[in-house]
């Protein structure tokens, strides 16, 4: 670790992590701790562990609704930063892409689901954060699956990581691996899920029962795997007689 070797000592790391989370460090020492965390994964892991331990106290606080002006000001701030920052030079700029994508998704959703969701996010039922097989820390995309209110209305959606360059989707296919049998089910061309792709009942069940989603090049599941991600259930849904 560059810098002060003192921070390599386990008891010093533990002391620093616990006091960082407790909030007793001076601002100068806290900033130094944050710099060290970026360089020292062990210190960062200790801080996360203390965060999780002590955060239980926060769960005992009775909520107090924030004044309306807080969200209004945040929105204004987001919008003004988006307007002021040239595209692709700052994170605020990416909002315009998301606004467009969201609007598109919203229009499709309105048609499909017959219920408006102008400001809220429909509860995601399943989500897979797709990581490239190459050693890259950031996920490339998130694939989300939403349960529809009738057979054939469930749908799949891809959300790209706008920090990374988008990839050409032609020739890429999506697959679900069953968590028990390991059987692979084709979910079709990835390009189809760029906007919102409706799922058949067998496809919905394949996602529901999957342990992992895969993206391969070519039309065979044996083709080169480009991205993969475990499929997580995020919100429960009622298992009706006619799922999917």
């Amino acid at each position: 670790m560059p810098g002060n070797l003192r921070y390599r000592q386990p008891h010093v790391r533990e002391h620093l992590a616990s006091h960082y989370v407790l909030g007793t460090l001076s601002e100068r020492v806290r900033r130094r701790c944050e710099r060290l965390m970026r360089q020292d994964p062990e210190l960062e892991a200790l801080v996360y562990a203390w965060q999780d331990r002590m955060n239980q106290i926060n769960d005992e606080l009775a909520p107090v609704k924030a004044p309306e002006r807080v969200w209004r000001n945040i929105q204004t701030q987001l919008d003004s930063n988006r307007a002021a920052t040239p595209r692709k030079t700052g994170f605020w700029a990416r909002l315009s892409v998301w606004r467009l994508a969201t609007a598109l998704l919203l229009v499709v959703s309105l048609g499909l689901l017959l219920k408006p969701t102008p400001t809220s996010v429909q509860a995601v039922n399943y989500m897979a954060m797709m990581q490239p097989v190459s050693a890259q820390a950031e996920p490339t995309m998130i694939i989300t699956a939403y349960k529809g209110d009738a057979p054939g209305r469930s749908h799949l959606h891809i959300q790209w990581n706008e920090r990374l360059d988008r990839q050409e989707l032609a020739g890429l296919n999506l697959w679900a691996i069953d968590r028990d049998s390991g059987e692979i089910t084709a979910l079709g061309a990835l390009a189809q899920a760029q906007s919102t792709r409706l799922l058949s009942k067998p496809e919905w069940l394949a996602i529901k029962n999957s342990r992992e989603l895969l993206v391969t090049r070519g039309s065979s599941p044996d083709g080169p795997v480009l991205f993969r991600g475990p499929c997580l259930q995020l919100s429960p849904w009622e298992d009706r007689a006619t799922p999917g």
Binding site: H15, S18, H19, V21, L22, G23, T24, S26, E27, R30, E44, Y48, A49, Q51, D52, R53, M54, N55, Q56, I57, N58, D59, E60, L61, A62, P63, V64, K65, A66, P67, R69, V70, W71, N73, I74, Q77, L78, F91, L95, W98, R99, T102, T119, S120, V121, A123, V124, M127, M129, E138, P139, I142, Q159, W160, N161, E162, R163, L234, S235, P236
Partner: protein, 179 residues
């Protein structure tokens, strides 16, 4: 909503905020603003100032979400820590002294029969295993964002003694929670 389900929703929202997804950010705000405002008010009792600090906290959540490591810890704990750090910066920069508090919550949190801690028996159990003075110092420091000097004054204890209480108390807490 069940706490586990709520936590999963916060986790899912932050995963999407990492990718700069604004509707997910709005949903995250809807889910968390009441709890984060309550947390901020413990550190900054002035409601207007606390609202300003809360606004800055959300801006930081949006800006820094990509640094959150879901493999190391919970999203909600990460969000709370960021919010607490922001509130602590605000109160210390404003040069306002934290108000002397007769907040009943502190007594309930360190007491044995508070009826709180329904979800978190482990922290409650381990806090009860350490002596009352270090327990009070640790919970007060965390809840109100107090410095050692402020705690020393509030608890009317010499600074050296107070630091020693906290150091030993945290060590005992760590050992207990790990077993």
């Amino acid at each position: 909503m069940h706490p586990d389900q709520w936590n999963r929703q916060v986790e899912a929202c932050l995963a999407q905020v990492k990718l700069q997804h604004r509707p997910a950010f709005e949903e995250l705000y809807r889910l968390t603003n009441g709890r984060l405002y309550a947390l901020t008010l413990k550190i900054i009792p002035d409601r207007e100032l606390a609202a300003d600090a809360l606004q800055e906290s959300y801006a930081k959540i949006w800006r820094n979400a990509d640094s959150y490591r879901s493999d190391l810890g919970g999203a909600w704990a990460w969000i709370c820590q960021l919010t607490r750090n922001t509130a602590i910066d605000w109160i210390r920069r404003s040069e306002r002294r934290p108000e002397s508090s007769d907040d009943p919550l502190i007594g309930q949190l360190i007491g044995d029969d508070s009826g709180l801690w329904q979800q978190h028996h482990d922290l409650s159990r381990c806090l009860r295993k350490i002596r009352e003075e270090p327990r009070t110092a640790i919970v007060s420091a965390y809840l109100y964002g107090l410095t050692h000097a402020e705690l020393s004054e509030r608890l009317q204890t010499p600074l050296g003694t107070l630091k020693s209480w906290i150091r030993r108390g945290l060590k005992e807490l760590h050992q207990c929670l790990e077993t």
